[in-house]
C-alpha cells in the first residue's frame, strides 16, 4: 500500500466527517427556523384576533377611545415587523425589531385589559369572553413557541461554536442565530407606574 493510497483514505474520511458535521448543522438550522415559523404562525393568529376583540370592545367603551387606537396601531406595527422578520429570520436586527414591536403591543394590551375592567357589561359579553379565552391560549402559545425557539437556537449555537464544527460553520457561512429578545435597552429597564 503506497503513501498515495493512505493519503486518499484519510482525505475521504475527512471529507465524510466534514459532510457529517455540515448535515448536522443544517438539521439544527432547519429546526430553529421551523421553531421561528411557529412563533410567526402564532403571532399572526394573535394579530387576527386583536382587531375582532377591539371591534367588540368599541361597542361598549365610551371614553378612553385612544387606548383602542393605541392597540390597533401597535398591532399594525408588530404585524409588519413580523412579516419582515419571517421573510429572513437569520438577518439579525429584524428579530430584535419584532421583539420590540411585540413589547409595545403587550403594553397596549395591558392598558386595554385595565380599561375592560371598568366596563362590567363588556366583561359579561359572551363572544368577547370566548375571544378573550382564545387570545389567552394564543398568548401562551406565543410564549411556548418563543421558548422552543430559544431552545433550538441554543442547541444550534452550541453546536456551531464547538471545535470541529466551528471550522465548518465559518467556511460555509453558518451565522450565529439571534435569541428572541428586544434589541433596545429601554425594555430592560423597570416599568414605571404612575398613579394620577
Amino acid at each position: 500500500m503506497g503513501v498515495g493510497t493512505i493519503v486518499l483514505i484519510v482525505a475521504v474520511l475527512l471529507a465524510a466527517y466534514f459532510v457529517m458535521i455540515y448535515n448536522r448543522l443544517i438539521t439544527h438550522k432547519n429546526r430553529f427556523m421551523n421553531a421561528f415559523s411557529q412563533i410567526d404562525v402564532q403571532l399572526q393568529r394573535r394579530y387576527e384576533l386583536i382587531p375582532n376583540l377591539v371591534e367588540i370592545a368599541n361597542k361598549y367603551v365610551t371614553h378612553e377611545k385612544e387606548t383602542l387606537t393605541a392597540v390597533i396601531d401597535a398591532r399594525n406595527t408588530a404585524s409588519k415587523a413580523c412579516k419582515a422578520a419571517s421573510a429572513n429570520p437569520q438577518e439579525s436586527g429584524l428579530v430584535g425589531a419584532l421583539a420590540q414591536a411585540e413589547q409595545t403591543l403587550g403594553n397596549a394590551m395591558g392598558k386595554f385589559n385595565m380599561v375592560m375592567e371598568d366596563y362590567p357589561e363588556l366583561k359579561a359579553d359572551e363572544s368577547l369572553r370566548d375571544l378573550h379565552d382564545e387570545l389567552t391560549s394564543t398568548e401562551n402559545r406565543v410564549t411556548y413557541a418563543r421558548q422552543a425557539y430559544s431552545d433550538a437556537v441554543m442547541r444550534y449555537n452550541t453546536d456551531r461554536e464547538q471545535f470541529p464544527a466551528v471550522v465548518v460553520a465559518n467556511s460555509c457561512n453558518f451565522r450565529e442565530a439571534d435569541l428572541f429578545e428586544a434589541a433596545n435597552e429601554d425594555v430592560h429597564k423597570p416599568v414605571k407606574v404612575a398613579f394620577g
Partner: protein, 612 residues
Amino acid sequence: MDFFGSQDTRRRQSIVLLLCFAVAMLFMAAVVHVIVVLVTMPFSSGINFSQPTTQAKAFIAIIWMACLAGCFFRILDVRAGGATLARRFGGIEATGNSRFREEKELLDIVSEISIASACTMPRVFLLHHESAINAFVVGGFTGKEALVISKGAIDKLNREQLSAVVAHEFGHIAQGDIPVNMRLLIALGGLNAIDEVGKLLMVRSGGELVAQPGVVVGFVIRLIGSIGVFFGRLIRSAFSRQREYLADASAVQFTRNPAPLASALSVIRDQHADEAIHSVHAEELTHLCFQTGEKLKWYDKVFATHPPIQKRIDAIDPHHAVKTRSKARVAKKQQPNLYRSGSGASVVPISGGTSFESLALSDQAAVLLGDSSSCLAVLHAVFVSDDSSKSKLYYSAIAFAYNKIFSHQVRDLREALNSELHNNQLAIIEKATEQLRDSVKLDNRQRLLKSLEKLLLVEGEFTLMNYATLQLIRRKLDAEFPVLDQKSDSSAGVALASQAKSFDTMGREFALLLSLIVESSGNDTKKHDEHFANALKCYTKEHHPRRTSEESGIVTELEASFQTLYVQPRAIREAFVQHCLEIAQADGHIAKDERALLNLFAASLNCNAIAA
C-alpha cells in the same frame, strides 16, 4: 431543577439499561442452549455444546419460534398505531366541537405544549370512566402517537397542573421513549410466549405430574420462559423508572415551571389508594402511565415501573412541601380577621399567626409572687387538680415530701390565684420560672423538677396536660431535657430514640401527635376524625387510628415519639409544628390546651422559632 444537565445524565443511564437488555437476551440464548443440551443428554452419546443433537436443535427451534411468534403478534398490535390502541383501552377521541368547556381547554393545552416541545400534535383521547388521575401515550413506530388522559385528571387538576402532566407525556414523545417502550413491550411479548407454549404443553399432556415426555418438555420450556420474563421485567422496570425522571425533566423544560408538576404529583399522592386505573389492560399499561399506585413490598419496588412519587417530587422541586406551606401561611396572614379573639375566658387571642398577647399578670399575682419561696409554691400549685380527692392526695404528698407549712402555702396560693391559674397559667409560670432561674442553682432546679415529677405520679399516671406543663417548666428553668424514667421499653412497638427512622415509616408517631392536637381543638368527635384524616394524609400513606389523651401510657409513648421525631431534619420538624399550629388556628382561636400542646410540641421538637 437543572433540566438540561438532568436530561443528559438520565439519557446516559438509559443507554446503559438498553445495553443490559441486549446482554440479558444473549444470556437467555446461552441459557436456553445449555439447558436444552443438558436435557437432551439421555438421547445423545455425550455432552457436546458446540454440536447439539438433532433433538436439541429441534427443541431450541421450538423455543425461538414461540418467541418470534409472540413478538410478531405484538408487532401487529403496535403497527396498528396509537389511535387504535387508545380506542382499545376505552379512550374516546376529544374533538374541538365538544360542548364541554374542559375538553376545549384540554385541546388548547395539548396544542400549547406541542408547540413548546416542537412536536406534532397527537390525537387526544379521553377515558371518561376513569376517576383516577392518569395519562399515557401510546403509539406506533413512527409518529401516530395518541395521548390518553383520564377524566379524573381533568376534573381534579387545575390548568397549570394539567399542562404539567401533558408536558410530562410530551417529554416521553420528545425523548423518543414511545418506540423504545413499544420495542420493550414486543420483546417481553416474545418471552411471555415461551412461557405460554410451556403451559400449553403441560396442559395437553394431562394434568398429572407423571414423567411424561410432554410434561417434562413443557416444564423445561416454562422454566426458561419464566427466567426470561423475570429478567425482562426487571430491566424494563429500571429502564422505565429512568425514563420517568427524564420525562419530568423535559416537562419542566417545556413549561419552565417546576411547581405545577410537583403539585400535580402531590395531588396524586393524596388521592385515595383505591383510585388506581381500572382498565382491563392495566397491567400492560403500567410502564406507560403518568404514575402508578404506591406499593410497599420490596419485590413490588423492584418491579415498579415508576419511581416513588415523593422521590419524583424531590427531584423536581426539593422544597415543594415547605414552599406550599409557607405560601398558605402568607395567604392566611393576609386575612387577619380570621383570628379575632373569641369571648370565652379560656381563649387566648393571637395576632399575625404566632405571637400571643395578654401575658400580663394582675397586680395581686405580681405582689404574691415577689419572693422565691412563693414562686416555688406556685409551680406546685399549678398542678393542683380540680378534683377534691385528687388534690387532697396531692397536698398530703407535698407535706410528706417537704413539710406541712409548704403544703399550706401551696394551698393558700392556689385559693388566692384560683382564676389566674386557670386563665393565665402561662404568665404565672413565666414569672415564677424567671425568678427561680436567677436565684436557684442548676442542680437544685433539676432536683425541683424531679420532685415535681414524683409528686405528679402520686395521682397516678401523667395526664397529658400535666406532662405538657411540666415540660414547659423544665424548658423555662433551663433544666436538662428528657428526665422521664426509662419506661418506654415496657410498651411494645414504641420506637427507640437511637433509630433514625425514614420519613415514610413514622406514620405512627405523626398520627399520635396529630390526634392529640386535633382533639384539643374542640369537642366535636366527628370533626376530629375528619381533620385528623386530612392532616395525616400529608405525612403518610398508612392508616392509623386516631388516639385520645385518655389512653393509658399515652405520655410515655408521646415521649418516645418525640425522641424519634427529634432526630429528623429541621425542615420536617418545623413544617410539622407549623402544620399543628395551622390545625389549632383552624377554628379561629387557640384555646389554652391547644396552646400548651403547641408549646410542648415546639419545645420537644426543638423548633423554638415557631414556639410562642
